[in-house]
Point group: C2
Chain length 333, copies 2
DNA sequence: CTAATTTTTTTACGCGCGTAAAACTTTGAT
DNA sequence: ATCAAAGTTTTACGCGCGTAAAAAAATTAG
């Protein structure tokens, strides 16, 4: 930086100021600096930079499970928004493990991030650890809400999701049963069940929740095994099955295939299956899965913007933003 | 650190040494430090740490596309190995974009990593940029090889992959045609095609390569559209189709479904379809996809170990390690 | 027990930058 | 042209640690 100063004829502190905020120096000064930058390709040392800065430009992005394409997609979007806003995103995955989630938070602390975009594991999360972290670091919670912690919450409106797709299913054939995990990892699952119950009641139908056993994040396998068991015991009371999420639905479709049960909305099909999430893979199941999709772009945009305004000084009370999903009609229901 | 020194009764430089390598101090000293650490939960400032260290403990992990569960899985494994070996992994994705890949490399440079585990985009990669990066930073290339750059290459043996599954298909029914993208992003695709040609020749069969159009990383959609076109023009000369990779196969299966073509190895099925990669989703296609799986664990273990030995001073000539895959027999072929 | 060796302490410097304060210069408005 | 405001330079310090060198202490070998 010293060299760049002598080459450009600008003092080092001014150059430091330039790197902090290029707009904060006079245009003529900025031009001189950028001209010198062209010739000498200097890169500031990020370690020295961040050592004395009160606030780094780092942003942590934490998702529960990166190998789930849904989270991978959200993470990709968030990453781009951070870069566009001049922040340096770093990606972390809890890999479905609460202990790892705490470790990630610990690692994040030492990065002294300006802010964090955090999708918690949910039920399994260490609440106390999350809360403590949110006290120390400006954190925006997304995807699944855990109390009213952090700066704000941004996610999908699970009530709208399930109400909407339940409504569709009721209007087009028999009212659906609801296929879910007994002990879901994600708190959104409870909202979806409740929304299903409410919607069924408002239509005057008797709800039927089929809860299946299974722990962990291998939802497809849980759905497949649970599906087999449910069929064997005749637990599906109607021809329509609304799954709590797409991955469960994918497993259920495999179970149907293995049992020779035709799925779809045509006359020759025994049942209909619908999912929820708009999973990237849902287009390629057989039959293609009817589902209700997150507004990926809007969720990540809103979440990122909310974090940045908070970082940049805007204090606002805790707020929950829940965005509506869009029904995607395909052959499965 | 100063405080910790006074509390533990050990001098600051010795504590610094401890954090650099806990085993380098006398056991009694180490015990004292760790006892003090229990009480005062001090965390070294990573920025100050890395500023003067010749070598940081950072390791970059770069994959071409994180939303592809195959890469997500590899990345997860690599991450764990890094942590286990005492390094701090940071995950990056090129998101299928060569320009982003160069940007990632640039970001990585400023992290001054001890080493990098890099899976290049392949054909689209900026060779010159990759080579220059490898000159500056100890880099191990994995998954897809680009010349003989970096410390070494670790990946799967694509020749063995395709030879093995071609052999299986030939022995069990009609010899397969080969379904692939005309201009594949990944260099492994060329190896697989060549291996198919060699295998077919060694059996005395006439190979039949069906190359379909399509750019980018949306393999499923490319496979689906290409499949439709191939069926319409009668381009499949036998009842068996070996796909260049699983994602293409998933798309092809969807095309089959849409055309009402039954896939499987039973009498009533018109064709058989097989993939390659052992994609996490291949178990849940309809029918479940016969494929040949990467040895994920071995590839990542070998890659990580190779990088660490190189970092820790072992100089060895460039080497290519290619691990064999395992045939996974399912209903599709 | 003494000498040789290893480990630790003391002392001291510097990494590359952020940042503060005061003096100075440029710019824009009157 | 004159003055105030904004931007810039100079000077100086410190962040939290790594690291080097020399002195001191602890351990081991003989």
């Amino acid at each position: 930086m010293e060299e760049l100063a002598s080459v450009s004829g600008i003092s080092r502190p001014t150059i430091s100021k330039y790197f902090n905020e290029p707009g904060s120096v006079r245009p003529s000064t900025r031009a001189k600096i950028e001209a010198a930058l062209e010739l000498h390709d200097y890169r500031p040392n990020i370690y020295a930079m961040n050592q004395n800065r009160k606030l780094t430009k780092n942003v942590g992005v934490v998702v529960p499970l990166l190998s789930d394409p849904y989270f991978a997609e959200i993470a990709r979007n968030l990453e781009q928004h951070c870069i566009a806003a001049g922040y340096r995103p770093t990606l972390f995955s809890s890999h479905g493990d609460p202990a790892l989630e705490v470790e990630v938070l610990d690692t994040l602390r030492s990065l002294k991030p300006a802010g964090v975009l955090l999708a918690p594991l949910g039920r399994a999360s260490d609440r106390a650890a999350l809360e403590k972290f949110c006290d120390d670091v400006p954190t925006l919670i997304f995807d699944s809400s855990v109390d009213e912690i952090g700066l704000a919450f941004v996610g999908s409106d699970n009530f709208q999701f399930t109400a909407h797709i339940t409504d569709y299913l009721c209007r087009t054939s028999e009212p659906p049963c609801f296929f879910e995990m007994k002990t879901p990892a994600n708190p959104n699952a409870h909202r979806r069940r409740q929304s299903y119950l409410d919607a069924m009641e408002s239509f005057g139908y008797t709800p039927d929740v089929v809860s299946i056993a299974g722990e962990g994040w291998g939802f497809e396998e849980i759905g497949r095994l649970g599906g087999h068991e449910a069929f064997e015991n005749g637990r599906f009371s109607t021809n329509s099955i609304l799954c709590s999420n797409d991955r469960l639905a994918i497993g259920l479709l495999t179970a149907c295939y293995e049992r020779g049960i035709r799925v779809g909305r045509t006359e020759d099909c025994r049942i209909r299956v619908a999912g929820q999430d708009g999973h990237p893979h849902s287009r390629y199941t057989c039959p293609p899965l009817t589902t209700i999709s997150h507004n990926y772009e809007a969720v990540s945009q809103t979440a990122a913007d909310a974090l940045f305004t908070a970082i940049e000084g805007q204090v606002s009370p805790w707020k929950s933003t829940r965005l509506e999903g869009k029904l995607i009609l395909r052959d499965s229901a």
